[in-house]
Symmetry: C2
Subunit: 275 residues, 2 copies
Amino acid sequence: MTARMLVDGVASVQVSALDRGLAYGDGLFESIRLIGTIAPLWSRHMRRLAEGCARLYIPAPDPAQLWREALEVSCGMAASVLRITVTRGIGERGYGLPAAPRPTRVVAAFAPPPVAAGVYAQGVRMRVCNIRLAEQPLLAGLKHLNRLEQVLARAEWNDPAIAEGVLLDSHGRVISATMANLFAVVDGELLTPALDRCGVAGVARAEVLAACPQVRVGELTLAALRGAGEVFLSSSVRGILPVRSLDDGSYAPGATTRRLQQHWCDLGFSMEQGE
Amino acid sequence: MTARMLVDGVASVQVSALDRGLAYGDGLFESIRLIGTIAPLWSRHMRRLAEGCARLYIPAPDPAQLWREALEVSCGMAASVLRITVTRGIGERGYGLPAAPRPTRVVAAFAPPPVAAGVYAQGVRMRVCNIRLAEQPLLAGLKHLNRLEQVLARAEWNDPAIAEGVLLDSHGRVISATMANLFAVVDGELLTPALDRCGVAGVARAEVLAACPQVRVGELTLAALRGAGEVFLSSSVRGILPVRSLDDGSYAPGATTRRLQQHWCDLGFSMEQGE
């Protein structure tokens, strides 16, 4: 994996081994799709990052500075994925917050992940994961660095034909995919799970909610998901992905999915549809 | 904070910014008390680390190599605390496990944390934290790098007279302190919480369980804790700490606490009692 990277504004590929991001996962990140020098969802990413910093008591970085660094690391790339990581920085040993925190910021640009041919047209295959997400309202919604549940979920399968897994909470409610949010049309109504107890409130999900004011945010059971007429995933990196199957059940990409894919094109993400 | 450190066996104070330990908290750690060149609980630490690696599918480091590195970083220190961090290493972007993982290992030695005068004799003051630990059986017991709950718990208070906080799970059961395990004598029986849904199964706790076969591992309610005759904390770094108060209630250090403090002395931790 090659990446161009700035650590606290300086070209570097390393961070302190005493950083609390490493010691405790004490920080946040954003994965941001760039088309040349355009990041259509930038302001939503910055809003989520600021909210996450506030909830974790980490001084928020300056978005203008992050944008300058984003342009620097992605310079010359026709398309890229930025990863911005913000940690609480180096701290004394122990969990207590440093009296004078100096957050660490890492801005890195990567080549976009490959998306298999036909995925945007026909959709991805999914399975239901065995792991159940733990419910922690104080961290729910945040894109924080404590992601072992997602690592364990993704380790459950290695069939390359399966692109994603459905994550349930400990009560069996559908929450999301491992790296995307999930929407389903159930009895004609567009639904996405509430994320106040677990899950990551994706920036692409926020864009869908803004584009479709009729979406109901609430409880989605696995039975309702299996019986849905249309299912799709939203991802700031991959856009709108139809779901073609869940275990043995299948779906056809429907009108809502196509309308949102078109919305994504209109935002400037047109390259994604053609990959 | 100064520390002597080896990263993958090489003197360094940095790790790759692409390490999954930073990206996802994808790893484990051990905090180990050394008295000169003796680590009385070393084999328990190595056992827990191996178990954690197995549960997270991380190739386990060689304990003999870790021990050589521990002696190197702590050389010349009369007393020290080692932190051994093992991560899944550098990975491709995304949660999927690398096909050929190369774990990262960081071995660092620090001066032991100061312990206030009289603490071992009279005990520490505690409060009950507001945060409730989320229940994730697949991670329960492990000393993994996803520690945001502990960071948020410790951020709840800054009164230096309060040394520790009681953590409850989402059902209100007592689990532990923020950086120690907890034992209580309730109706004459020595009890410590079960840690199969959340919490860290401390190495010092394991030593207490081995030394006191009569300990019952089970459910401890907050009401039972408040009414306990004797409460103490176990920590691989701090040893056996009597608890003198919880919110407005108080305890006197009792015979069990004193017997276990003596056991800690017998193990070779005698310096701790005198700090």
